[in-house]
């Protein structure tokens, strides 16, 4: 394996996007360095370069906008779900988690909106909020339908009804959060 081929294989250490964009240019620069200054000088320079830039670019990829958005959305949904489950099982921590999830979603909505690729924000926003409203409307229906099977003791039917009700509640909250964080469509400047 030649030096440029070995260097190319080391480029796998970099994030895929950076490698795809600049892989050939990096190898070309390494070849130029080798031709002009010799292998030893070229390797000395790229070795230091690798040590410094690989962790940095990896970290930047992890912290980039889209990834942060995914983490943020996941955190909000997890907090909302944990809050709902806590309330349902009678833990007071849910009373804190639910408003906290809403506060984080609302305060971070501009950040979430900036990094979302939404073609028609208004339409998607309306759709998500409509689904949230329908699911929220289903909650009392499910409750009253399952009332006859909810007795003093918890049978299998009651557990299933409770699970369905909880799932619908969580979905309603998730759609509501997704709805309020969906960016509004921008008006094109005249």
């Amino acid at each position: 394996m030649g030096a440029p081929s070995f260097y190319r294989s080391l480029l796998r250490l970099y994030p895929r996007e950076f490698r795809a964009d600049y892989g050939d240019d990096l190898v070309q620069s390494f070849t130029d360095l080798s031709d002009e200054r010799g292998h030893r000088c070229a390797w000395r320079r790229v070795a230091l370069d690798l040590v410094v830039t690989v962790p940095r670019y990896r970290l930047e990829t992890i912290m980039n906008e889209r990834h942060r958005t995914t983490v943020l959305t996941g955190t909000i949904v997890a907090m909302a779900c944990a809050g709902i489950v806590s309330v349902l099982v009678g833990l007071y921590v849910g009373v804190v988690l639910l408003p906290l999830a809403a506060v984080v979603a609302i305060t971070q909505r501009s950040h979430l909106a900036r990094s979302m690729d939404v073609v028609d924000g208004d339409r998607l926003r309306r759709k998500r909020l409509r689904v949230a409203a329908i699911l929220a409307g289903l909650l009392p229906v499910i409750y009253f339908v399952s009332l006859p099977i909810l007795g003093d003791s918890w049978g299998a039917d009651a557990v299933v009804a409770f699970a369905i009700w909880t799932a619908v509640l969580i979905a309603a909250v998730c759609y509501f959060i997704a709805g309020i964080t969906t960016p509004r469509a921008r008006v094109a400047p005249r």
Partner: protein, 116 residues
């Protein structure tokens, strides 16, 4: 959209400033920029390929430099990508030079004999 203030990009990192300074001399490909940076810094600043292209990526994303779609001259290497400093890049480079110039002035004034 309002034009971005050059000062909003300051301070530039050492690598970014060196690359912009190299591009003020004309359109260049990556390896030529590496050589120019080394020459302009008297050999003190030596960039590795990944540092250089990471810096170029940031400059292009910030609108301070752009990749040329065509080669600057017919004889130039077709395999290489060439870069050019943008008008905003020139203003930012000038603003950074002014900032450093002011810093040099303060340093010289403070280090003058007789100043505590």
């Amino acid at each position: 959209m309002a034009a971005q203030e050059p000062t909003s990009f300051l301070p530039l990192s050492q690598a970014q400033f060196h690359v912009l300074v190299a591009l003020t001399a004309g359109d260049q490909h990556g390896y030529a920029i590496m050589q120019a940076v080394e020459a302009s810094s008297g050999g003190i600043v030596t960039m590795g390929p990944a540092t250089l292209y990471g810096t170029l990526k940031r400059l292009v994303e910030a609108g301070l430099a752009e990749e040329l779609q065509r080669r600057p001259a017919p004889g130039d290497d077709a395999r290489r990508r060439y870069y050019r400093i943008t008008a905003l890049g020139k203003r930012v480079c000038q603003a950074e030079a002014d900032r450093l110039n002011e810093l040099v002035r303060i340093t010289r004034a403070n280090l003058r004999p007789g100043v505590a």
